[in-house]
């Protein structure tokens, strides 16, 4: 029983986007940091769409480009695909805002990106401790957190400040009472996807990409989710596609849907099947996405402790943002921990400066503005059903000659909507969406 007490200036739980950002910033600030990761290596537990945003990376690591991040492709084309039962209407943008160098966003695979991201923290001086699960906290009688308990023998690590970046299953956040309970199924989407290998030329040719320095990122609405609350997605990697869906967990449970059946149905869709034809499945996987927004957020700080990233529901589902919030929140948590160290004060009052920092940035401003969006999607399934079908139907009619007077065409197009949703209700839907997005 005669072992030395392991002490650091700070412990970060989880070497994901938020955690490694926090560890990097702390180490560069001169602190002794332990970055504890339960996987064999960082990224091994992570599964996402998806894309990473350079504005966020640059904030933590200004010279990131020289450090050769393992990006797949830049997002040079982005938008929505509206899927009907047998048709597709694409609404994507390219050029203009998306033609910058470096790009605003890069498509990545997390098993490649996260190890690189953690390596940057390590190079800055943080100690990465993999294969180690944090199971509890060391707390003083007044609740002040003074370290973590891991599942290693004699696995206590002491530190006056702990940054929790444990991800969506925020059991440690709950343990401290910062989150009262688990999120509800309606506040979570289950993301599931396949990574499908295809030759680069096939990807470029089928999706109309000039070369492998061009990439596509789309949200897919409509038939993809059987018209239920959820969204499909498609991202082009260099020589594979990341294709999958996020469907609200309450929907999956109540309709008793098998996620892999729903995904296969998407892949079998008549306009999607030719895109993936001949591809080889490299990996299937699933991960929860905390889409409850502002109202689902835990308390972000406590005595000697801060929470960042998915653990704090920092996701803006409509804009695919989450990775950027995680990275910046990790950095802001680190700034707060550095401030606490310089003052020698780890009280809740100093920790609360983290929230002020988040308030000053888009993170809490956006999450507050979009606070009604999760509820809006729940109460307006038409956006997954009526409108994607209407758009396909109406546009399809517009571009069909028929040999009939155009007056009839426009009447039919209008009918394509009114058969599905009364004009009054449709107007109400648009107002409701505007309110949800604007935060009115």
């Amino acid at each position: 029983m005669n072992h030395e007490r392991i002490e650091f200036d700070a412990v970060v739980i989880g070497a994901g986007l938020a955690g490694s950002a926090a560890a990097m910033h702390l180490a560069r600030g001169g602190l002794n940091v332990a970055l504890v990761e339960r996987g064999r290596k960082p990224g091994g537990k992570n599964y996402f769409g998806g894309a990473i945003y350079t504005h966020a990376i640059a904030e933590v690591l200004p010279d990131y480009a020289e450090r050769r991040p393992p990006f797949e492709r830049p997002v040079t084309e982005a938008g929505f695909w509206f899927l009907s039962r047998d048709g597709l209407t694409r609404m994507t943008v390219q050029g203009g805002h998306l033609a910058t160098e470096p790009a605003d966003a890069y498509i990545t695979l997390r098993a490649n990106f996260d190890p690189w991201w953690a390596e940057q923290a390590r190079e800055a001086g943080a100690l990465l401790i993999p294969k180690t699960t944090v199971v509890d906290f060391i707390r003083e009688e007044d609740g002040q957190v003074t370290g973590v308990v891991t599942d290693r023998p004699q696995g206590e690590i002491y530190a006056p400040v702990v940054i929790i970046c444990e991800g969506v299953n925020n059991l440690l956040t709950q343990k401290l009472g910062l989150a009262e309970s688990d999120l509800e199924p309606a506040q979570l989407a289950l993301g599931f996807k396949q990574v499908i290998s295809l030759p680069m030329e096939a990807i470029n040719g089928r999706l109309g990409l000039v070369d492998d320095n061009h990439g596509l990122a789309v949200s897919v609405l409509g038939d993809v989710s059987l018209g239920l609350p959820g969204m499909g997605f498609l991202y082009t990697n260099k020589t594979s596609l990341s294709i999958g869906l996020g469907v609200m967990l309450d929907t999956l449970a109540e309709y008793r849907l098998r996620p892999y059946d729903v995904l296969q149905r998407y892949l079998d869709h008549p306009v999607i099947a030719p895109l993936v034809e001949g591809g080889q499945l490299l990996e299937y996987g699933a991960h929860l996405i905390p889409e409850g927004g502002y109202r689902a957020m835990p308390k972000l700080y406590g005595k000697g402790v801060l929470v960042a990233g998915d653990a704090a529901s920092m996701v803006n589902a409509l804009h695919w943002e989450g990775t950027n919030m995680a990275i910046i929140a990790g950095k802001l948590a680190a700034e707060t921990a550095l401030e606490a160290h310089s003052r020698g004060d780890f009280s809740e009052r100093v920790m609360s400066r983290y929230k002020d920092r988040l308030e000053e940035r888009f993170i809490l401003q956006d999450l507050r503005q979009y606070r009604g969006f999760a509820k809006f999607l729940e109460t307006h399934p038409q956006f997954m059903d009526v409108y994607p079908n209407f758009i396909n139907d109406a546009l399809g009619q517009f571009f069909t000659a028929y040999g009939k007077p155009k007056k009839e065409l426009f009447r039919n197009m209008l009918k394509a909507l009114s058969d599905r949703r009364s004009l009054l209700r449709a107007t109400g839907d648009i107002i409701a969406m505007t309110r949800a997005v604007m935060g009115w």
Binding site: G39, V168, L190, D250, E254, R258, D261
Partner: protein, 116 residues
């Protein structure tokens, strides 16, 4: 709109013709692509009380688990193939009776995504 829990849990049905468009996928074909480090000594998923599962009319876990961890045994009891778990957390949250004891695998064990 929140999912009802416990005995109040209700299922919803898709229209038959829409339901008919769902293929039946053999999930093991997908699991073959996953890399795991299996903890042979310790199962990180447990059913808290099998009597509760017996009372659960709709057993949604048999469906929504993305890797088919939950199956019905010949004796009608729920069986857990924790070795296939990708640690997503869905079962902990969406079990209508919160009857699943869900912990993280010990450090280094469990799923290890190769692509992510």
């Amino acid at each position: 709109m929140t999912m009802k829990t416990g005995d109040a849990f209700e299922v919803k049905e898709l229209p038959e013709e829409l339901k008919a468009t769902l293929p039946e996928v053999y999930v093991d074909d997908l699991l073959m692509t996953l890399k795991y480090f299996i903890d042979e000594e310790q199962a990180h998923l447990q059913i808290k009380n099998h009597d509760v599962c017996a009372r659960c009319e709709y057993k949604p876990c048999l469906y929504f688990c993305p890797v088919g961890v939950y199956t019905l045994g010949p004796d009608g009891r729920i069986q857990i193939a924790y070795q296939s778990c990708v640690e997503c957390g869905s079962c902990r949250v969406a079990c209508p009776y919160t009857n699943i004891e869900w912990t993280l695998p010990r450090g280094g064990f469990g799923v290890a995504y190769k692509f992510g």
